[in-house]
């Protein structure tokens, strides 16, 4: 077997050195009646060409590749410069373990330090951690952090939070003494109802978790939200499910958010059918020692040279066990490193250019869609790159199905998350689209609705 380098002769030699005649003697500690199950359902071993053929066949059974896609809702297609794939696939970045031995891990550590810095710059907050699993679990960790830091146990969640994020938060806190309370969204603006928020805030409230741009595509009035939350000495937690928006909109830290968490898949990671992606967390300095996850910090070596180490590890499970700030161990280090590479290559101008194109393409669609009789854009202003539309007749799923026949994935029908939302479709635009693609979408909607 090509992955097993020992030869039979070597195995014999090693057995002699150990003092056994048969390798089975090494397994006598295992209840003998249970040993060597038949495993008949496992496949037969495949050669490398056979493996390629089998996976090509899996690929053939997928049919999305040729479609023009406007799917988003927390997973976004963006252009990935070749340099990112080239560099991140190097074995030196792909095949080390967690950098427990910093003397031989400065490459990973410095790359993560640079990533942390860029995420802090993008969010306008003081520090970012080295990654969490994904946007949803990062939101859940933010809830736990807010509760820990405040000593309060009530957490408000905007109803315009991505439904999967809200679901994961509910799962995480299901056995903890944390009360989750929904805050309403104003139908007319698509924004959090600040009056409902004020009425729900009390002295037991640890935090308000809101998403911006929210799940309906709308950019929140973060300043009004943060002001209301801070009046009651609670924390404002901004969720960002489309990190590209950070390059276009006023950053969470400037808005007044105490923490920003979310999904940074947009920074150089392929769609990959949903993962692995990149959860991020950035906070004001006062939360630093309570943060979950790994942190890379700068220090000096014995010769006074600059170097990097994993730091503040007394927060973590391997030291604190059940008193740790989180149980997280393996995180998304490679994804964070790759995001760092992406951000470096895109740079100040490139990232702004991509983010601007995302928005301008969405804005173009919204202006042109006004002429379509079959749909209505629900919120025609203050979106970033996602647009919610209502179909006037039939269901959003029907419209999506009709467009699928024309090779267009028009958007995510909200019925995917909430069976009651039959006539709403969420469309996402990016710098990968151009005017011709959007015109094609508009024409197809015109014909189908």
């Amino acid at each position: 077997m090509r992955y097993l380098p020992l030869t039979d002769a070597e195995r014999e030699e090693m057995k002699r050195a150990i003092g056994i005649a048969d390798v089975r003697e090494l397994f006598t500690c295992i209840p003998s009646g249970q040993c060597r199950p038949p495993l008949g359902k496992l496949p037969k071993a495949l050669s490398e060409p056979e493996l390629l053929a089998v996976f090509r066949e899996f690929g053939r059974r997928n049919g999305f590749a040729a479609a023009l896609s406007f799917l988003g809702a927390g997973a976004h297609s963006h252009f990935i410069p070749e340099v990112v794939s080239y560099l991140s696939s190097k074995g030196e970045f792909l095949t080390p373990y967690t950098p427990y031995q910093p003397e031989v891990s400065q490459g990973s550590l410095q790359a993560i330090f640079e990533y942390q810095t860029m995420m802090a710059m993008l969010t306008g907050l003081d520090v970012a951690n080295a990654s969490l699993y994904d946007g949803a679990s990062a939101a859940a960790e933010a809830v736990l952090l807010a509760v820990r830091r405040s000593g309060r146990s009530r957490v408000l969640l905007a109803e315009s939070l991505h439904p999967e994020y809200a679901a994961v938060i509910r799962t995480y806190v299901q056995n903890l003494a944390i009360e989750l309370v929904p805050v309403a969204v104003e139908g007319a603006s698509g924004r959090v109802s600040v009056s409902d928020l004020r009425s729900q805030l009390d002295d037991a409230t640890a935090a308000f978790v809101f998403q911006s741009p929210n799940f309906l595509g709308v950019v929140e009035d973060g300043k009004a939200i943060a002001a209301a939350v801070h009046e009651r000495k609670a924390f404002a937690v901004q969720v960002v499910a489309e990190a590209m928006s950070l390059a276009y909109l006023t950053p969470p830290g400037e808005v007044g958010a105490d923490m920003a968490v979310g999904e940074a898949q947009s920074f150089g990671l392929p769609l990959g059918f949903g993962g692995p992606y990149l959860g991020f967390m950035a906070v004001r300095e006062e939360f630093m020692r309570q943060m979950p996850g790994r942190l890379v910090g700068e220090t000096r070596d014995l010769d006074g040279q600059r170097g990097y180490v994993l730091t503040l590890s007394t927060r973590e499970q391997h030291i604190k066990r059940e008193k740790a700030t989180s149980n997280i161990c393996s995180n998304e280090a490679w994804c964070a490193m790759r995001a760092g590479m992406y951000l470096a290559v895109m740079g100040q101008a490139g990232l702004a250019c991509a983010a601007r194109a995302c928005h301008l393409n969405a804005a173009y669609f919204v202006r042109q869609a006004a002429a379509l009789a079959g749909i209505r854009v629900v919120y025609a202003r203050n979106f970033f790159n996602e647009v919610l539309v209502e179909v006037r007749k039939g269901s959003a799923a029907d419209l999506a199905a009709a467009l699928k026949k024309k090779g267009i994935l028009a958007g995510v029908p909200l019925a995917w998350f909430d069976a009651g939302q039959k006539n709403r479709l969420l469309l996402a635009f990016s710098e990968l689209h151009d005017r011709a693609a959007i015109d094609r979408l508009l024409a197809a909607i015109g014909e189908a609705s």
């Binding site: 209840p31 008949g40 496949p43 340099v83 014995l302 040279q305 194109a357 999506a400």
Partner: protein, 480 residues
């Protein structure tokens, strides 16, 4: 002047560009209020493409990796990561959007269904969720399943028992699932038997979390009796499968009475660890616990594969979308390459390699637990003139990645060595020879070890300073 690479921010010069994107070809008419938009991101890198490539190439040179050499990091199963799996995971035809209609992603759903089916066959569990993102996430998911099951039976109970040799993630995961942790001392043999379990097995015990083989590399031989005692008490047995590599094709946890377990695809199934992730931590359960697994669940329906998104008895959703799909792809490819002919060989060679290392070093190092070794062996620094840390750092000078140090906590100055099946006898002999040289140096010139490493890009780093005054980012104008 430092020979280390500058930070990307220190390479930045106003006006440099690393990528060539066009402006959008639609009218530049934004629809966002001006006060909601940001200006240029201050101090963000402006670096040319060639300089970026050289920057990261310079960083790559500072890293040790499995591709570069032996990496006997105990408990981490740093086996070789087959290159074909990277190509398969990068295939365009698999990069679907997670909300693409199901009829367009039948191939991807089949990949998930196949892996689940074969994990079932390998472990004897009744079903798996592939959603958890990593081992610890799997533990948390598994403990939520335990709790929900017991809750439905009328009482979630209060306590989870965890051996003193366990990974720190076990108590942390149990805690976040709402449990109080009670630690059990291992026996003199290093294992948990009925004698260790019984005094703690009170009616409020929800489960025992047991790593098997445990972190000493020892198989928990009493596991069936332990499972029986737990079940008689209405408690469940959770098996941490971090060390499943030793059992692959040899024995199935489901046949031993295990109720819930997680697997680390990034260990046993060869997916690269990426400098700390992404991992993937599928959770398998016995038949009576199937209804509580998280959503979504992929299943075969009349017209192909379909996905169940909601189930009232499920613990709910633990993650966005479906899980770490591209890690799942690599794991499936690995399993298909091995096939049923070779899975047992993986465990045999891994165990043979560990025992070979043990046989060659046990006269030179203290071996506190002498029970048979499976995939890893744990020595102690007792009786040595230097500390484990010094030996580890000296190994770096000889170009070898150290073993896991100071874990498990029950061994003084633990040196936890897991060679894995990926290593040739030649590599092991080289490692053994280096260890002998270092142990000789320890006797004759211990200062050499205390000063080590001296041949690495940086020397020992001041971790105390890093934690006392944390510098977690670069800032313009500050001294870095």
């Amino acid at each position: 002047m430092s020979h280390l690479p500058k930070l990307i921010f220190e390479l930045s010069r106003e006006g440099k560009i690393g990528c060539g994107l066009n402006e959008a070809d639609v009218p530049a008419e934004p629809a966002v209020d001006a006060e909601l938009r940001r200006g240029a991101i201050a101090d963000f890198p402006q670096v040319s493409e060639v300089e970026i490539v050289r920057h990261y190439m310079a960083l790559a040179k500072l890293n040790y990796s499995v591709d570069a050499g032996f990496y006997p990091l105990g408990s981490c199963t740093m086996k070789y990561n087959p290159k074909i799996n990277e190509r398969l995971a990068a295939a365009e035809e698999l990069q679907a959007h997670p909300y693409a209609p199901h009829d367009l992603v039948q191939g991807n759903l089949e990949i998930m269904a196949r892996l689940e089916e074969w994990l079932v066959e390998l472990t004897g569990m009744a079903g798996f969720t592939l959603a958890p993102a990593a081992g610890a996430h799997g533990e948390f998911t598994g403990m939520l399943v335990v709790r929900r099951y017991l809750q439905e039976k009328g009482d979630p109970r209060r306590v989870v028992l965890i051996p003193d040799s366990a990974h720190g993630t076990n108590p942390a995961s149990a805690h976040f699932a709402g449990y109080e942790v009670r630690e059990i001392a291992s026996s003199a043999k290093g294992t948990i038997g009925l004698a260790e379990l019984r005094p703690h097995l009170t009616p409020d015990v929800a489960a025992l979390m047991m790593t098997n083989p445990n972190t000493l590399g020892i198989f928990e031989s009493d596991i069936m009796a332990v499972a029986e005692a737990l079940h008689a008490n209405g408690s469940l047995l959770y098996m941490d499968g971090a060390n499943l590599n030793a059992l692959l094709g040899i024995v199935r946890p489901g046949d031993l009475g295990v109720d819930v377990m997680h697997i680390n695809l990034h260990k046993t199934f060869s997916t690269p660890h990426g400098g700390g992730g992404p991992g993937s931590g599928p959770v398998g359960v016995a038949a009576n616990l199937l209804p509580y697994l998280p959503v979504p669940r992929v299943r075969k329906g009349g017209s192909g594969y379909e996905v169940v998104y909601a189930d009232p008895r499920s613990i709910g959703r633990v993650k966005n979308f479906y899980g770490h799909f591209l890690v799942i792809v690599r794991a499936l490819a690995y399993l298909m390459a091995l096939g049923r002919e070779n899975v047992g060989r993986v465990a045999e060679d891994a165990v043979l390699n560990a025992n070979y290392v043990r046989s060659q070093l046990q006269g030179l190092l203290d071996l506190p637990y002498k029970a048979p070794t499976l995939h890893e062996v744990v020595f102690s620094d007792s009786g040595l003139p230097v500390k484990t840390l010094d030996i580890a750092k000296r190994l770096l000078d000889y170009g070898v990645h150290p073993f896991t140090i100071y874990f498990p906590l029950i061994v003084h100055g633990a040196m936890m060595i897991e060679p894995t099946e990926s290593e040739s006898k030649e590599t092991l002999d080289d490692f053994i020879a280096v260890m002998k040289v270092i142990l000789g140096e320890a006797r004759e010139n211990p200062e050499l070890l205390r000063q080590a490493p001296t041949r690495t890009p940086v020397r020992r780093l001041d971790e105390t300073q890093a934690a006392r005054k944390p510098v977690l980012r670069w800032r313009k104008g500050e001294l870095h």
